[in-house]
Amino acid sequence: MATLEHSAAAPVTDHAATSTGLPHLKLAMWLFLASDCLLFGALISTYVLYRGASTVGPYPADVFDIPYTSVSSFVLLASSLTMVLALAAIQRGDVGRSRVWLLATALLGMTFLGGQVYEFTSFVREGLTLKTNVFGTSFYVLTGFHGTHVAVGVLMLLTVFTLSFAGKINQDSSMTVELVGLYWHFVDIVWIVIFTVVYLIPTGSPAGG
């Protein structure tokens, strides 16, 4: 068998023959991600609608720390890189390296989550809770849902990492890593939108202010 030098030679027949010629699991994952777009579309719309409608503070400009959130964004982007490197490694049949990249992705995800917990804690200290105003409510619900998605992704990554020690993750079952990767990248693209819409785009004058 020829040496596989490029991830292009990934095993692509690790699924049962289907009427579409496409693996149903991957198709289902894309369908799930499409439906999740609607969930986040609704949450982002709600945030944009309410973020400038608060009659009492704190307002977005009072609490946001852009340099801090920028570092969180870099962490999540880096985790997307380690995720694709894990996939490329498993598609080459390099289980050991894939394991390292999977663990790195999970650790970066946990770092992001730790950052979010710290951010929420500091916001609460500054007086912004879920019930303070409509900005607080819509902000915590949106970023909280995203954080929950990241937490689920970390659990999936750690599960795949553990399964690899049982010999259940190898070149022939690289689809499992690919599916977790699709979910992880989706979490990343949602953050790309949240970072721009929630943190970087300035809010107009507070209602009544």
């Binding site: 068998m1 490029h6 991830s7 292009a8 030679a9 990934a10 095993p11 692509v12 027949t13 023959a17 579409t20 010629g21 496409l22 693996p23 991957k26 198709l27 894309w30 369908l31 991600l33 499409a34 999740d36 777009c37 609607l38 986040f40 579309g41 609704a42 982002i44 719309s45 709600t46 944009v48 609608l49 852009i66 340099p67 920028s70 964004s73 870099f74 982007l77 880096a78 997307s80 890189l81 995720m83 694709v84 490329a88 598609q91 022939d172 990767g181 699709l182 990248h185 989706f186 990343d188 693209i189 790309i192 939108v193 970072f195 721009t196 819409v197 970087l200 785009i201 300035p202 107009g204």
Partner: protein
């Protein structure tokens, strides 16, 4: 004459119609560097006073480019079957439509 079974999936290394050529690690790293640079530019633009007037379109442009790079390269939509892309675009179009309907209904753009 060799007998061929109809349900024979063929050799394991044969490319299936759903999968294209995925990039290698070097290309992934190149894309990640571009993503990092765009994020740095986003934050820089946020602090530039002179760019305030065009801040929102610039930020949306950067965000769009980052989104597209991740979806096309890291999620392989550029290389895989177009069926996946159709599914995803369908969800994305639904989300954008929902966003516009909500904001137009509550006259966010006119305030």
């Amino acid at each position: 004459m060799a007998e061929t079974r109809v349900d024979d999936p063929g050799p394991r290394s044969a490319p299936a119609p759903h999968a294209g050529r995925h990039p290698g690690p070097k290309e992934y790293i190149r894309i990640a560097i571009i993503l990092g640079a765009i994020t740095a530019a986003e934050v820089a633009v946020y602090y530039i006073e002179g760019a305030r007037e065009f801040l929102i379109p610039i930020l949306f442009f950067f965000s769009f480019v980052k989104f597209a790079l991740v979806v096309l390269w890291f999620m392989h939509l550029r290389f895989d079957s177009r069926t996946y892309a159709r599914f995803f675009v369908m969800g994305l179009a639904g989300a954008v439509t929902l966003f516009l309907i909500v904001l137009l209904t509550f006259q966010v753009f006119s305030s």
